[in-house]
Amino acid sequence: MLTALASRFAQMIFVLVGISMIVFLIFFATPGSDPAARIAGRNASQETLQVVRHDFGLDRPLPVQYALMMKRLFITGDLTSFVNRGQKVVPTVVNAIPVTLSLVLGAGVLWVVGGVVVGVLAAMTRGRWLDRVLMILGLIGVSMPVFWLGEVANLVSQSRFHDTFLFSWVPALGYKPFSEDPAGWFKTLVIPWFTLATLYVGLYGRVLRASLIEVLQEDFIRTARAKGLSERRILLRHGLRSSLVAFVTMFGLDFGALVGGGALLAEVVFGLQGVGKVTYDAMQNLDLPTIMATVIYASFFVVFANFIVDVLYAFLDPRVRDAF
């Protein structure tokens, strides 16, 4: 277990270093990215520019700059933004995490529940019209660009039907911290949750259905039938329980990817200042330190999610558990 953790950790470090280098190089390959001019401000004199460049260490060789940046990011933790000067990037990312987590967690609950319901219903009515309808609906959900759906949802709930009883409760876009205003937190997130979940409900429903159908062909299901168990018990305790392995794996990876910035589009559309949005803004500004922090955070999350999934997998599937 310990060696497993250690080697995972090594792998994680490797990936993170790789990614940070790529980001760093991409940034310096970008024209117009000399942050000095933008840091210095409109119409700054050349002397000022030079001073700024020196202050920010932008006149040092690239490897030195990279090392310094990593040091300030990981060791001293005082790396500051190029755009919002003085803004420490680490707390910025940390502050954005609850927003993203709120969004993704809520949506995750919705789509897991929805996916299970859809998947089980479809598998049970396999080949009949309910199955077909659910699958087509699911596919439509999968096929919609999330930002488009979000825009439409905004149009409907914020403007067109805002004055009707249906949507009059909908607050302005933006995030309200749970600690300050739990009701507001919930209200602002309901529509984003549903929007994000729409995409995944179909996906998960389909995957679960396929996996259930596959599992239901298995010999052990026949054994369970021969044991005289009720269909419901067979489906839930033997079928679903076995299918859940694939389901949970997928959830872990998607969750990791979303928390790691994949929810960017939803965050942009719904004005949620989460990690994705912070990253997006930073990319727009070519704010290297922030990009660096968010990308590393994001990839950390993806790698970490991979790890958690492996552990969960082992937890759910006793055959893998022994490997630990």
Binding site: D219, T223, A226, K227, G228, L229, S242, P318, D322
Partner: protein, 344 residues
């Protein structure tokens, strides 16, 4: 014919067919047989001859929506094919239990084996978990598992094939079934382990007062334990009789072929085996008449019409051959077959 009350199971004209793109596939085509109390009936036949479908249909376990199951299956007087779902469910795993071919895949991998046994006991007998657990331990002991307390807490993958098959048997026995359906229970096991399992099945009759239908493709396995044998080919029973009689004097050319195909383990070694030419039939394109006709070395024109079931004492077989023809053809060299074999 009224069903005999001493019979545990009486199957009449059982048919299992599947609707498919290429028409009706008759996997089981008019099979009739019966099982007495504490009797072990062996069901042999090649791959695809309908053995498994026969067993599954008895318990209503064919869940393919395209399947049609017809006929009559009387179990203790009740027609299983017409039993309501609930009643059938209560019967499954209760009065009738089944074990399957592949012990590696027949246990749910994500639950402990003990729980899987307990689950069945609770489903049929109710009672406390604790009692069910004790019962499970007793059963595991009965199927000669060395350390039952440790084994109940294990997951299937932690057990060897033989152990799993034992667990499955224990599970099948958990509700004292009157009839045990065993679908090739030893095929996936090594000979040494197979011997252990067969030994176990042979004891069931005494220890649990169960009858067994043992499906296999291995005549040797039947010879080890069965009282009576049914030989299936192409979805039909081609020969039936007491095991001793059938093995001593097989009546159907297919049964001959089966015996001849197995190299002997003792005595002189023949240079060549007398094999059955051709390939096992594809059910969707069975030849008209006798299904075995195209591969039969004794085939003649009448074979294009389904042969009637002949009776000889307790034995039945489906073939036109008369006793004298059989006597001459049984040990004759591959007379009519030469032309057929090369063409397979």
């Amino acid at each position: 014919m009224p069903s005999d009350p001493s019979l545990l199971l009486d199957v009449r004209d059982l048919r299992v067919s599947f609707r498919s793109e290429r028409g009706l596939v008759r996997a089981v085509d008019g099979v009739s047989f019966s099982v007495g109390r504490q009797e072990i009936v062996g069901l042999v036949g090649e791959s695809g001859s309908g053995k498994t479908q026969t067993l599954l249909s008895l318990m209503g376990l064919i869940d393919d929506p395209n399947a049609i199951v017809e006929g009559e299956v009387r179990f203790l007087g009740e027609d299983l094919l017409r039993l309501p779902r609930k009643a059938l469910q209560a019967l499954r795993g209760g009065k009738i239990a089944m074990i399957f071919q592949d012990p590696m895949t027949s246990l749910t991998p994500v639950h402990r084996v003990g729980d899987q046994i307990v689950e069945q006991i609770l489903a049929h007998k109710g009672g406390s978990r604790r009692a069910a657990r004790d019962k499970a331990l007793a059963l595991l002991e009965a199927v000669r598992i060395a350390n039952p307390t440790a084994v109940v807490a294990r997951y299937p993958h932690e057990l060897s094939g033989g152990m799993r098959q034992r667990v499955l048997i224990a599970m099948a026995l958990s509700c004292d079934p009157a009839l045990l359906l065993a679908d090739e229970p030893t095929t996936a096991l090594d000979v040494t382990v197979q011997a252990q399992i067969l030994d176990l099945i042979g004891r069931l009759r005494g220890d649990f007062a169960s009858s067994v239908i043992l499906v296999t493709h291995d005549l040797g396995v039947v010879a080890e334990v069965a009282d009576r044998v049914l030989v299936m080919y192409g979805g039909r029973v081609v020969e039936e009789g007491l095991m001793d009689e059938v093995f001593r004097d097989p009546l159907h050319p297919y049964t001959w072929g089966l015996f001849d195909s197995i190299p002997p383990l003792e005595g002189p070694r023949p240079r060549r085996l007398r094999s059955i030419p051709g390939n096992p039939p594809t059910l969707s394109s069975l030849p008209p008449g006798c299904a075995f006709g195209p591969r039969c070395r004794c085939r003649f024109d009448a074979c294009s019409i389904s042969p009637p079931v002949q009776r000889l004492g307790n034995r039945r077989f489906a073939c036109y051959l008369s006793a004298s023809q059989r006597a001459t053809l049984r040990n004759a060299p591959n007379a009519g077959a030469a032309a057929v074999e090369g063409l397979s």
